[in-house]
Symmetry: C2
């Protein structure tokens, strides 16, 4: 999808928040904000929001001299995820429909984006996760099950590092030996990289690859040929997070998008209020469910 005018002030604010997390240097904060403003004043709005976010975080890494500013935050998130895993596994063992329950847990994990803030504690995350598990859920669970059962190869596109431990639960429900988990090719915000995926043990459960890109989404043109081949060959793509939805929406490909609706622009696009947990098929999947399929790239 394209970048909406509403996305711009939001991305400027995110840039300022990120600069403050990365450094206490106020002149750096000002430089990054002015840089984003100048770039955005002339930017092409056709590419998706992750294109602007990619540029913001590249500049932030350059200006701060930090290759992976969120490394400590990601490690802490992963640690908290492991601490919560046993209790989720217990819930899952009691579930009537473990595939849907695991999908819901993986989607709920998507809310702990906030976990990148040092102030977020394990009990904050537990509370957030539990309330996400009871949040409004709009999902095409039957279609998802059929797609999973029918797929010989599944490409699972991860999102934030902090939710990888929750992704384990869903990956474990997918047909063994058919799943490839893909992460970002380089650090960007708190998005998952190979190191994060290994720390969550996903390398022991699935083939693990990276996409070669440092965008907080999946910009196919920016990914390696090897990743694109996997993408093209997959019978089913499971795409976690709003960034993957923003960048892949409109692709003619069987995709299930799993994410928490985090902003008014996406809420309007998918026709569901912010906070909704979505399990949404791409238009290519078709659907007999009550939730709309992804609309392609027409506004």
């Amino acid at each position: 999808m394209k970048t909406f005018l509403d996305c711009i002030p939001c991305l400027v604010r995110q840039a300022l928040d990120a600069a403050r997390r990365v450094s206490p240097d106020e002149s750096l904060h000002e430089r990054i904000v002015r840089d984003v403003l100048q770039y955005a004043a002339a930017m092409d709005l056709q590419p998706s929001p992750p294109v602007l976010a990619q540029r913001i975080h590249r500049r932030l890494r350059q200006m701060s001299g930090l290759r992976d500013p969120y490394r400590a935050a990601k490690a802490r998130q992963t640690e908290m995820g492991w601490a919560m895993l046993p209790e989720l596994e217990t819930q899952l063992a009691a579930a009537v429909d473990p595939l849907t329950a695991a999908a819901r847990m993986a989607i709920a994990g998507n809310v702990i984006d906030l976990g990148a803030s040092p102030a977020v504690t394990a009990s904050d995350i537990r509370r957030t996760l539990q309330s996400a598990l009871s949040a409004p859920f709009k999902g095409d669970a039957d279609g998802f099950r059929r797609a999973v059962d029918g797929a010989r190869s599944i490409l699972y596109l991860a999102d934030n590092a902090g939710e990888l431990v929750f992704d384990r639960l869903l990956v474990a429900q997918l047909p063994h030996g058919r799943v490839t988990v893909a992460v970002r090719g380089a650090p960007v915000i708190n998005d998952a990289t190979l190191a994060d995926a290994r720390a969550a043990g996903l390398n022991e459960m699935a083939t693990l690859i990276d996409n070669g890109s440092d965008a907080p989404g999946t910009l196919l043109d920016d990914c390696t040929p090897a990743f694109r081949e996997r993408f093209d060959q997959a019978d089913l793509v499971i795409a976690k997070g709003q960034g993957n939805y923003e960048s892949l929406n409109g692709e003619n490909k069987p995709i299930y998008y799993l994410f928490t609706v985090k902003c008014p622009v996406i809420a309007q696009r998918v026709g569901q209020p912010p906070g909704t947990q979505l399990l949404m098929p791409s238009r290519r999947m078709g659907s007999r469910s009550t939730i709309p399929t992804s609309t392609g790239d027409e506004p």
Copy 2:
């Protein structure tokens, strides 16, 4: 006070909202957003937020070709204000301390900034106003009474058109013959102009002047010499709204600021949460109350 980095994305968002209110033309929305981004990328942050807001709304009027885009909204607000006046006068007649009660009503009126939206109805405003009247109030009521009693000349700086009818209640409590009400010199957003003040009947209660400026605040350098003379000569300035606070804070002058805290930057500055109704003396006033005086222009 200076413009904080946090103010910039907020002002970009406000520019987009304003452009959408003024015109359905999406290319105009995009042009105004790009214009603000480009200007903000290089702007001096020392002047107060109303300086950027002034520029945004000048450009919006130029680009849309509308001299007073909010005229209809302001007229509707004033009409709604008149409809609510009898019930507020009844409440006021029963008040033990009418000066403070009228000040609270005038401050509460400051929340109906939203009234510029066509969707806002009289019952929305009534509800907003009633909840504002019971909102947390931090006020130096005793100091305010002393300042009012001791002043031979009072300059009352109005804010939005929609609250002028509520300002009547407070002006009526001030010493007759000593009050000058000042409004903006030209239309900007839904701020009060001479026409709005006359529609609220303030010309029958006080001397009415305009400040010659089209900023949504009081930028003294941008005001007419006649206004500045009134400002200099006043024993007491009563300044309504956040814009007047942002632009006058730091002036060495006896001022009482009456406003609803509307954003996190101001909340942090005044040490009170958003939504608080403030009756706050400038540092020059001194105070024996429990609320801090305005901090001057040091962050």
